[in-house]
Subunit: 192 residues, 2 copies
DNA sequence: TGACAAATGGAGCGGCGCGCCGTTTAAGCG
DNA sequence: CGCTTAAACGGCGCGCCGCTCCATTTGTCA
């Protein structure tokens, strides 16, 4: 890659990170090009689709999340490990509002630039889930797809402005569903 | 309203019902106008925004859902009543793929044409929820907003093609969360 | 320094939701 | 019945969008 190309690539990525974290993952690509001071053509050559741009932005976060799952595998409480990782995964998806929808679409589309990122994410979660299941701490009737779906749902909920105030609470409710085998129910004293 | 206007109004609505149920709630409005054989202006005068059109399409279903909630209030098992109604509510939102996002946005926007429809829906659910809670059959730490959010999440999940195969199962998982007090867990034999 | 592949940027294409406005038409009245 | 008039009409035009194409510029290396 030529030096000017490299510079533009990096600069576009930086501008995109800025703009998308403010306006959400569906911000105008033309705006990004304008703000980066490059032509539309340049942006689209480096990132042919919106997914390609998102992939470049999310790749490192997703790798970190996969690594984190590895660490948590060595945690004593398999249920707490899963829970912590879920929380972190959702935080990552909140880097860019609205990013979860293309991610879900990508997991079934091998041609999407986001595909492998999403598959990796699902795999990381699936391992933590399975460990919790083996120890009898999570519902047995779930797999990695279900976990991915529930993460998606929680991420989507937290992307909807009217639902934001209850997002944490909804996380608890759904967590309880996943880890329902843990206690057979949350003690009265711990409920909101 | 003049007779020609009435005819166009009805015809547009019929065409929209057809087209939106196939292509989803974000189908092109211009396409609807074209297919109905009217100009863009005519469509937009009758339905100033997409929300207005959706409202006209959903109104009767929502009213029916509210009435259904009333009926179910007289059902013996408050938990089963809530569950049935949830299922029906989600079926209604599936009339038009992608309709849940504008609905969620509308519940916090009093100026949206969809606002009152959504408020009514939330209210209907809230009553069934409260009855189940009173009888100790549903989580105490939830209100109508939470229920609405969970319905939204389930509706959204079922709108995502890759997640469709697991949608029913995810419904069960989240139902268990809402009605967790019912049994303290699903018997091993009933799990997938 | 010259040649050339690589990279650029912006005009252009077909799409969108929607506002505007000159034209047509239904409907009530003398 | 014909006239009038307000209501309804349709579609052009605006500013967006993602994306493609290609004449022009620029970095690189012999």
């Amino acid at each position: 890659m030529r030096s000017d190309a490299r510079k533009n690539y990096d600069h576009i990525l930086a501008v995109a990170r800025d703009l998308l974290s403010g306006e959400g993952a569906d911000a105008s690509l033309r705006d990004i090009a304008r703000k980066a001071g490059v032509g539309d053509g340049t942006l689209h050559r480096h990132f042919p689709t919106r997914e390609a741009l998102l992939e470049a932005l999310l790749r490192t976060s997703f790798d970190a999340l996969a690594a984190r799952a590895g660490e948590l595998t060595r945690c004593e409480q398999a249920d707490e490990a899963l829970l912590s990782w879920l929380r972190e995964a959702i935080v990552v998806t909140h880097s860019y509002k609205g990013v979860i929808t293309p991610m879900v679409a990508a997991i079934a589309d091998e041609n999407s630039a986001l595909h492998s990122s999403c598959v990796d994410l699902r795999q990381a979660g699936a391992e933590l889930l399975q460990r919790a299941q083996t120890k009898g701490l999570a519902r047995q009737d779930m797999d990695g797809n279900d976990l991915f779906a529930l993460i998606s749902a929680l991420a989507w909920l937290a992307d909807q402005p009217p639902l934001v105030p209850r997002a944490d609470h909804l996380f608890e409710i759904i967590s309880d569903a996943i880890l329902s085998r843990r206690t057979g129910g949350v003690p009265e004293s711990q409920r909101a």
